[in-house]
Symmetry: C2
Subunit: 238 residues, 2 copies
């Protein structure tokens, strides 16, 4: 009669607050919330690689192995940290275009605050509360378009992928921003090879300095393309 947690993917039950009831034995020294919060702290400070059982345990003053009393595997921890760190989506404005824009920008902002979330390997469809909340609000906003549920899901996948991808690009550019010396060296190395190697378009792009600047309005660009594309579809509705 009890729910068979064994069959569920790692982190699912815990993320929804379903934790094994304990009857006897000593009280746990910590809570899962505490452990997850520590994981997020490390992620914020030192990046995703720092979200390790060893570090969290050390920070809490416990052996690494003690973590396994709370979490079944590292993957489970990561799932929980991910859901908690992404947080709740914002309220979306009315109208599917405005809502989509707000949703994507909110996601990009969230990833800008916690870039290490982009390093978390995605192992399946989202099933944790906060991640599903993001999905829910966007699908609700798309419900007014008249498209089918299936198409709405397609739109969501498209927008979500774009947001993640853009956030990732922005992060890379931000990281490279601190090394103009290297950018110079790269240019000197690359341009002659592009010219001789049969990359005419890239050569001209590089020489026009188009390659490195911008991106500020690339978000707007991609966003507009996607929304226009969806609008075309809506326009075809009977």
């Amino acid at each position: 009669m009890t729910e068979d947690r064994g069959e569920l993917p790692p982190g699912l039950a815990l993320s929804w607050g379903v934790l094994p009831v304990q009857r006897r034995g000593p009280k746990p020294a910590f809570s899962i919330e505490q452990i997850v919060a520590t994981g997020i702290e490390f992620g914020d400070r030192y990046g995703f690689e720092a979200v390790s059982l060893q570090r969290i345990a050390g920070h809490l003053g416990v052996t690494t192995n003690a973590m396994y009393r709370y979490v079944r595997s590292k993957e489970e921890l990561v799932v929980l940290v991910h859901d908690k760190a992404i947080g709740l989506p914002p309220e979306l404005p009315a109208g599917w275009r405005a809502a989509s824009t707000a949703w994507i920008k909110a996601q990009v902002d969230r990833y800008a605050e916690r870039p290490w979330l982009l390093d978390i390997p995605l192992r399946g469809a989202p099933m944790t509360p906060n991640l599903l909340r993001w999905t829910e609000v966007m699908l609700a906003a798309l419900a007014g378009t008249g498209l089918s549920q299936h198409d709405n899901l397609g739109c969501l996948v498209l927008m979500n992928g774009f947001a993640r991808n853009y956030a990732n690009l922005a992060r890379q550019l931000a990281a490279n921003d601190g090394t103009p010396v290297q950018a110079e060296a790269v240019g000197q190395f690359l341009v002659p090879r592009l010219m001789e190697g049969g990359y005419p378009t890239l050569t001209s792009l590089y020489l026009n300095q188009e390659y490195e600047d911008g991106l500020d309005d690339d978000l707007e660009f991609g966003l507009e393309r996607i929304l226009d594309g969806i609008e075309v579809l809506i326009g075809k509705l009977p």
Copy 2:
């Protein structure tokens, strides 16, 4: 007068075939090509986690540390493996729409052949020969649209992100395909929580079985949205 390899990002010089000339000392037992090929072999067989210096060295019958005579760091190896494994892009058909479609599908196919490429962390703009070749052919195909170089780049980023994202989704779905038992358990766990937790749209989605099927034509869907969006932009040109 020699090129200062020290300033360049890991793997750049090697990927372009620039390797330090060696004058004296014993001949190296292997070539970088061999090492990279071994890395790809392991990736194909056991996934990206198997692309490690240790495994490659062991397979070649050498100590792990010997690898550092060929490669400066693991990251360098990964960059080389990535570029080699992604290979060259196909010839694109005439017309920007057909070309875009072919380019995205080719990318999706490539990722389907080597799903582990999706696990490679992207640490910056592509600069290696094959990756830039993909960029080059797509930009060349977009050159006929009349859009600016900057806009072309925006389109490319959008399409590239979509292809990667779709390939990733497809992989996840393929992986989950083998565990219908678990899917059943997840549904039983999730649906009541969605209903009680205020996820009406997701609940109906789940109950309508829309959540798990399809995706076969989701590629077409996203593709059409993107291309239509770009077409709207082109239509606005003076």
